[in-house]
Every structure is written in structure tokens, then in C-alpha cells.
Amino acid sequence: MNYLKPDTFDEAIALAQKAKGTLRFLAGGTDVLVQLRSDLVTPDTLIDLKGIAGVKDITRTSEGWDIGIAVSGAEITEHEELMQDWPGVVEAMDLIGSTQVQGRATLVGNLCNGSPAADSVPAMMAAGASAMTLGPNGTRELMVTDIPTGPGQTCLQPGEIITSIHIPAQKANSGDAYERFIPRTEMDIAVVGCGINLTVDGDTITGAKVAIGAVAPTIQLVPDAADALIGSSLDEQALAGLADAVRAACNPIDDKRGTIEFRIDVAGVLARRVAQTAYARARKAK
């Protein structure tokens, strides 16, 4: 395996073009190196992006947040202002793995690994996040919602890399939240995940985005679930509508973590709980 550590994104793209056989990029490594270790994927070329300027920065602009691809979950969780603006995105990232994994794991790595159960992705989708990319034919901005295309797959072209994650500024009177179901209290892969972002006017929900994870081949927004909330004050009827819409959107599998019936059932339960947390945060937000 050849290990390369370019200084710029352009150099990284050039190296990727020349690479033969299996190519992987390295940010935190908490997925790539597990796959290497267990002989699932042994790259012929591994391009470490952590040497590139700016990859460790969290920058706040008027449009929101630009998060470098090598910023670790621990650094995100320690960022007070980001936590204020997007508590849901931060708690979603923080739930991934142990304290030790949080010292390395990154938003981009979680997204590019393409796991249907990725924790940060539903929260990023609900927040309307996007990814700036660079590839052989230039740069583009992709909505996170468009990136997952199947278990372990994304829409990124071969040799195309994400250069930063952009999270828009949170609107006024808004709040997001993320929760997942796991059998233990830590260290498990999500059996069900749900991220919700709400905007309120007084008690009435005026804007909503609902994303669910681990219950379908890809993580996805559920427009019907958002519609069930908009216009309501999160009463029982709205919550029941939310749960039904979420369950209808589920297309899960039976595996060593959960059954189809269980995932569908708990997806609705989780959505109700996450909505209540997001609603409370939205009404408290300035």
C-alpha cells in the first residue's frame, strides 16, 4: 500500500488520477483503517488529506459554517458557538463511537463511508448542509441529501474529494436535534437514527426537515413527515402524523442489529422524541 500525504487539494487530485487499483482517501481513519485491519479493503494507494492547509479549521461566515475535512468530532463538540447554532449536528457527530474514536472521526469520513446507519448524516441533512468538492473536472457544491446513493456508495466521481462541509446559518427561532437507538448506551452502530430541524413562530411550527437513518438503503429526508409538523404546535395529532410518515418511509432489513418490524416501530417512536427536543430548542432560541 502506498501512503501519500499531499500539501494541497490539487496535488491530491493529481495523485488520485495517477493511482492504480484501489484508492482510498484518509481523514480520521476510523472507518478506512478498520476495513484495512480486517482485510475488508486493502487500498493500493491511500492519500492522507490531513496535511492540506485549512482542513482543521472551523470558520463562521455570514452564510453559516465551513468545517474542514479533518476536524474531529471531539473538536466539533468542544466548539461552543457551533454547539449553540446546531446542537443536533454536534450531538449526532458526538454519538459516533468512543471518546477515542471522537479524537479522530470526521464528518466527511462519516459521510463518505456511505453507511446507511451513519449518525452525522441525518442531522446534516435536516440542517440543509452541503459539501464542497474538487475533482478532475473542477469544483462543485453537493447537498448532503444527494450524496448517499446506496449502502457504502456515494455520488462522488472517482478521484473527486470533498474539500469542506458547509452548514448554513441556523434561522431565527429554530432548533435541531438528533437521536439514535442502540441496545447499549454507547459504542453501537445506530439501529435507528433521526435528525429533525424546526423553525417556529410562537408555538406554531413554520419550517421542518426530518431525516431518518439506518432504516433504508440510504439516509433520506422524509417530506411527508415535515408536512405533518408544519402548521402544528406539535400536538398529539401532529406527532402521530410524524410517526406514521416516518414509518411509511422506512425500508429496513433484518440484520444482527435489529429486525424490520423493530426498526419501523422504533423509527416512529424516535421521531416523536427528537421532534419534541427540537421544538423545545426552537422555542427557546432567539
Binding site: 500500500m1 502506498n2 501512503y3 484518509l26 481513519g29 476510523t30 483503517l33 478498520v34 484495512l36 485491519r37 480486517s38 486493502t42 491511500l46 492522507d48 490531513k50 474531529s72 471531539a74 463511537g97 468512543s98 471518546t99 477515542q100 474514536v101 479524537g103 479522530r104 448506551t185 454507547e186 459504542m187
Partner: protein
């Protein structure tokens, strides 16, 4: 397989080593630098027995490549005690019998030390969640938690 020469700092000493890019930092620490205090319990970042500090951040050394250590600052269990003086965490783990077989103990001490340097007065729950990535199969965690809480209290007195 193109081996590389890496220069890094381990427990305050500058060290050089040659390693294959596929070798983890844990493999390097143990097999090339003779620091066998960090243990491999799983190789997949699930057990924490290989915990070290990398540039001041608590990580699993099995999920870091040896080649990534270039120019970094690494602290392992072997660097926790200063000279003949054990760190108070090491004392308290022995005093409270917060170990039985001891294979998880190095990882737990490195992790607990990282917490106490950040949060000198953690609640039991905060400590249990911080150590959730350090598996122990012998003790049921009870005496480990008591030992770390006692060490924290001791450190607060001194601070």
C-alpha cells in the same frame, strides 16, 4: 510495499523508526519501539486497550497508521509515571483494586488522565460515558470508577 522512515516524539523522547504503511501506530509502538504497555484487544477501535495521547488528543493507536505519526507528539502508559513517582491515578487503581487481570488498565489510565486534565471534577455518569470505549471484562467497572473519582478528588486537593 514502500517502507518509510518516520520521526516522532514518544513520552518526551525523539524516536525514528521504519515501518510499512499498513502497520498501525500500535504495531509500531509495540513491535518496533518495544513499548508493549499499549495492548491490542480488538484492532478495530472498540476496546480502548491501545489508548494513547496523540498531539494531546485521546485516540486508539490501532486506528492510527505508523506513518501518520511523523512530527507528532505521542504519550503512552509508559510515560504516565514521572520517574519513580506513580501518577495518583496509578496509585488509586491499585489501592481500590480497580484491576484484576490488568490488560485494560493501561488504556483506562491513559483515558482517565485525559479526562481529569480537561474536567477535574467529573460526575460518575460523565466518567462512565468517557470510559465507555475502554472495555473491562473482569471488574464490572465499579472499582475502576471509584478509583478514578478518588484520584480526581486527590488532584483537586493538590491543585
Amino acid at each position: 510495499m514502500s517502507k518509510q522512515v518516520i520521526t516522532t516524539t514518544v513520552n518526551g523522547d525523539s524516536v525514528d523508526f521504519v515501518c510499512d504503511p499498513r502497520e498501525s501506530l500500535l504495531d509500531v509502538l509495540r513491535d518496533r519501539l518495544g513499548l508493549t504497555g499499549s495492548k491490542e484487544g480488538c484492532g478495530t477501535g472498540d476496546c480502548g486497550a491501545c489508548s494513547i495521547m496523540l498531539d494531546g488528543r485521546l485516540v486508539c493507536s490501532c486506528l492510527v497508521l505508523g506513518v501518520e505519526a511523523e512530527g507528532k507528539t505521542i504519550e503512552t502508559i509508559e510515560g504516565v509515571a514521572t520517574g519513580t513517582q506513580l501518577h495518583v491515578l496509578q496509585d488509586k487503581i491499585i489501592e481500590h483494586a480497580g484491576l484484576q487481570c490488568g490488560i485494560c488498565t493501561p488504556g483506562i489510565i491513559v483515558a482517565a488522565k485525559a479526562l481529569l486534565e480537561k474536567n477535574p471534577d467529573p460526575t460518575e455518569t460523565e466518567l462512565r460515558y468517557w470510559l465507555a470505549g475502554n472495555l473491562c471484562r473482569c471488574t464490572g467497572y465499579d472499582k475502576i470508577i471509584r478509583a478514578v473519582m478518588d484520584a480526581a478528588a486527590e488532584l483537586r486537593k493538590v491543585a
